[in-house]
Amino acid sequence: MKLLIVDDSNVIRQRIARLAADARLPNMDIVGQARNGAEALLMFQREKPDVVTMDLTMPELGGVEATEQMVALKNDVVILVVSALSDKPTALRALKKGAQGFLYKPFTDDQLVTALQEVVRP
């Protein structure tokens, strides 16, 4: 499974990347790490990932818009919103645009792994 990580925080990106290698998440290949929505969309078009972890408040292009455009490009993409800042209505908007799940920051290693497991479960 191809994973794209979208977050403006370097620490968070690297943490997700490290956790994606967890044994409980077999076949998870990181195909890109983006710092904002615009960068994420470019990578998305190039790599056509299966799973995306999506921050919501980012410079350039926000997570809700990025989610909408990704779903338009590839309807079966699985998007997990990972955000601390977004209020509930914003998170709900991202879900309405086609994201499948939401995880509050900060998260523990287990919480992220479990959320990724859950979100890719058919």
């Binding site: 998170a91 709900l92 939401f102």
Partner: protein, 698 residues
């Protein structure tokens, strides 16, 4: 789906087997019917053919006789008889062969495959027919084809016929009867088989029907039971439960408590959002709509969106009856589709009650402020003095907190005790000035400090609580000072009154108040000749000591009026203060009451109650040692805690202040007579001389 099928099979196995049996019986019956009918047809054909053979034998005889009669009388050949003879003889010949060997008639005229004779009787008859017929046929044959023949062969044939016809007829008849018997037998068997088959099918049908019926009744019972259980759950569960359909309508089943939790009836079929509409803001309603839509959709993962539920805490109800409701939504799946959402509603009011308590506390503060304003108009100078002292005490407390928070391994308990002493003094002073607002805050502060002290294992996180109280006191100092500034404007002459006069007034105020609270009567007297000349800091400390000792005297020493009268004392208790220069640059401050005295017995009880000493240790102490224990923190002879006594801190405060002034304290007491505290302090700076004695009474 597969598992469903397997489940279905298991559930209805008996019925399936019964139906299969029913079908099998029917097929077997039909198959038997077909084969038996075919068999019967063949036997009937045998019977018919043998019947024809039988009558043919008679026709052959008659034809022979006719031929003979015509031949004898006319010498002519009867052509009709000859033709009958030919045809019938041929038939008999063919039938005889068929019955012996089996097979078809020549030319397969009737299309029937005849069986060879199979029963012993038939075989015997067929053999006999054959043996009688062979010579007969040999005699008859020349008579059938020739246009002319002699009389002799005819006579021979007739003679043979006459001689053997009876026997031949009998044999053929046996064959006919045998065939008829077999037809009858087969037909009977078939009939019996049909009856048995029908009976079997009927039995099977009844069995199947019973089985199905029983299962139906059983499953009805299970459904009824399940419905009752569901009903029981819905009737007893505390939370409000209901279902919503994919078109957002309220389903039929809901818990009985739903209307209690929501405090309104929920009509079945009502639109969820119509129901929520009056309870929540339009924004929340919109978010709720989004959330519910998402849950009905297949795309989001339920467990990954719970945290976004906009209805997890919803404020409902009007002003004064505010409540908080928590709605929780769970998918109910049917196959892969979300057929319902299960909605759980809980009252979440308790969770947010604390906020309401704060609001109440704030309004209480306003009331206190009004009380304070009345006091202020009387004596602003005292209040300013109080504010100055209080603020400096608060700064000291804060410094203590600051130091502790930056070091490791601090003794939080020691800090708590130190803070407690300061706060207790603030409380005493504010009580003396009737500043109930400060007294209240200080009392709350004290209560928390006592809880910490009693708990023992004080930790850093507990300091947060202290800063809040501290901030309250700072705030109060500021707001009262601001208020004073506003009302005083150009300055009030009250400041001109002497320190001793203000001290005495404080003492009288506090004495009056505590006495009133405790149902006692008290008179405060004072001789304070040197008080006005003491340095400010020293006067402050002595003032604090005086207020605390007055507090103790009224709360612990002075008896209730009735008790005093019984003892022959005046109903009004006396507390006398004196502050004198006793020479050698030494100030003596005494506080004497005419109450019940310090009772070692009561202190022993208090020590036991405090739990700090084992009963054996207490018993081992001398009365003197026991009395000295009142100078330890945390010992009080009053069992409950009021704002004036019972925290067991007063003497602790006194000792600390005495120490701060490098003084010494002694106590003398006598039961039912008096208690006197005598303190001596070195005078800082130059000596003072005794001038006048001021006596004031309350």
């Amino acid at each position: 789906m597969k598992t469903n099928q397997a489940g279905f099979l298991r559930k209805y196995r008996a019925i399936v087997v019964a139906i299969a049996l029913f079908v099998t019986i029917d097929i077997a019956l039909i198959a038997y019917n077909v084969t038996a009918s075919y068999q019967i047809d063949r036997l009937a054909a045998v019977r018919d053919l043998s019947g024809s053979e039988r009558s043919s034998s008679q026709i052959v005889l008659r034809a022979l006789l006719e031929l003979e009669a015509d031949y004898t009388s006319k010498g002519a050949i009867n052509a009709d008889a000859q033709k009958a003879l030919r045809e019938r003889a041929t038939l008999i010949n063919d039938a005889t062969r068929v019955f012996r060997e089996g097979g078809r008639m020549p030319g397969n005229v009737d299309g029937i495959e005849y069986p060879a004779a199979s029963t012993p009787a038939a075989i015997r008859a067929a053999e006999k027919i054959s043996s009688l017929w062979q010579p007969y046929y040999a005699l008859v044959t020349p008579l059938t084809s020739n246009a002319t023949f002699d009389g002799e062969p005819l006579a021979k044939a007739v003679a043979y016929a006459r001689a053997n016809n009876g026997e031949l007829f009998g044999a053929i008849n046996d064959l006919v009867n045998d065939a008829q018997d077999r037809v009858n037998a087969e037909t009977n068997v078939l009939r019996i088989a049909q009856v048995v088959g029908i009976l079997l099918a009927l039995a099977n049908f009844i069995f199947t029907a019973l089985l199905a019926f029983r299962r139906l009744i059983a499953s009805d019972r299970v459904i009824a039971k399940a419905q009752k259980e569901t009903g029981d759950i819905l009737a007893t569960v505390k939370e409000g439960l209901f279902l919503i359909t994919p078109d957002y309508k309220v389903g039929e089943q809901m818990s009985a408590s739903l209307k209690d939790v929501l405090r309104k009836d929920v009509p079945i079929g009502q639109n969820l959002f119509d129901m929520l509409g009056p309870m929540v803001t339009p924004q929340t309603l919109e978010a709720a709509r989004d959330y519910v839509e998402l849950l009905f959709g297949k795309r989001v993962k339920e467990s990954l969106v719970y945290s976004l539920n906009p209805l997890s805490e919803v404020e409902v109800g009007s002003e004064g009856a505010k409540r908080y409701l928590g709605f929780q939504f769970n998918r109910v799946l049917e196959g892969e589709d979300v057929s319902y959402l299960l909605v759980t509603v809980q009252d979440a009011t308790e969770r947010v009650n604390l906020a309401a308590q704060v609001a109440a506390a704030k309004s209480r503060t306003r009331e206190e402020m009004e009380v304070l304003l009345r006091v202020l108009s009387n004596d602003p100078t005292d209040v300013r003095e109080f504010l100055r002292r209080t603020e400096s005490a608060l700064e000291q407390i804060n410094d203590g907190l600051r130091q502790v928070s930056r070091r490791t391994g601090e003794n939080y308990l020691a800090l708590v005790n130190a803070v407690f002493r300061s706060v207790h003094s603030i409380k005493s002073e504010s009580a003396a000035l009737n500043l109930e607002m400060f007294e209240g805050i200080a009392h709350d502060f004290e209560t928390d400090l006592i809880a910490l002290r009693d708990r023992g294992d004080v930790e850093g996180a507990d300091m947060v609580k202290l800063t809040l109280h501290l901030d309250d006191l700072f705030e109060s100092v500021n707001s009262v000072r601001g208020f004073l500034d506003r009302i005083s404007g150009g300055g009030v002459s009250e400041a001109e009154r002497s320190a001793s006069a203000r001290f005495v007034e404080s003492l009288r105020g506090l004495g009056r108040r505590i006495a009133a609270d405790q149902g006692k009567e008290v008179k405060v007297t004072a001789e304070l000749p040197v008080f006005d000349r003491l340095p400010e800091a020293m006067a402050d400390e002595i003032r604090g000591i005086g207020l605390q000792l007055l507090r103790n005297a009224v709360a612990h020493g002075i008896e209730e009026p009735d008790e005093r009268k019984q003892l022959g004392k005046s109903a009004i208790g006396l507390v006398h203060f004196s502050c004198r220069d006793v020479g050698q640059r030494t100030i003596e401050f005494t506080v004497r009451d005419d109450g019940r005295g310090v009772s070692p017995k009561r202190i022993r009880e208090a020590l036991a109650r405090s739990g700090r000493y084992a009963q054996a240790d207490i018993d081992a102490m001398s009365d003197r040692d026991v009395v000295m224990k009142i100078f330890e923190p945390g010992v009080s002879t009053i069992s409950g805690s009021t704002r004036d006594a019972g925290h067991g801190a007063g003497m602790d405060v006194v000792i600390n202040r005495v120490n701060a002034l490098s003084g010494r304290i002694s106590m003398s007491t006598q039961g039912h007579s008096h208690t006197e505290f005598r303190m001596r302090f070195p005078m800082p700076g130059s000596a003072v001389s005794e001038t006048a004695v001021l006596r004031q009474t309350a």
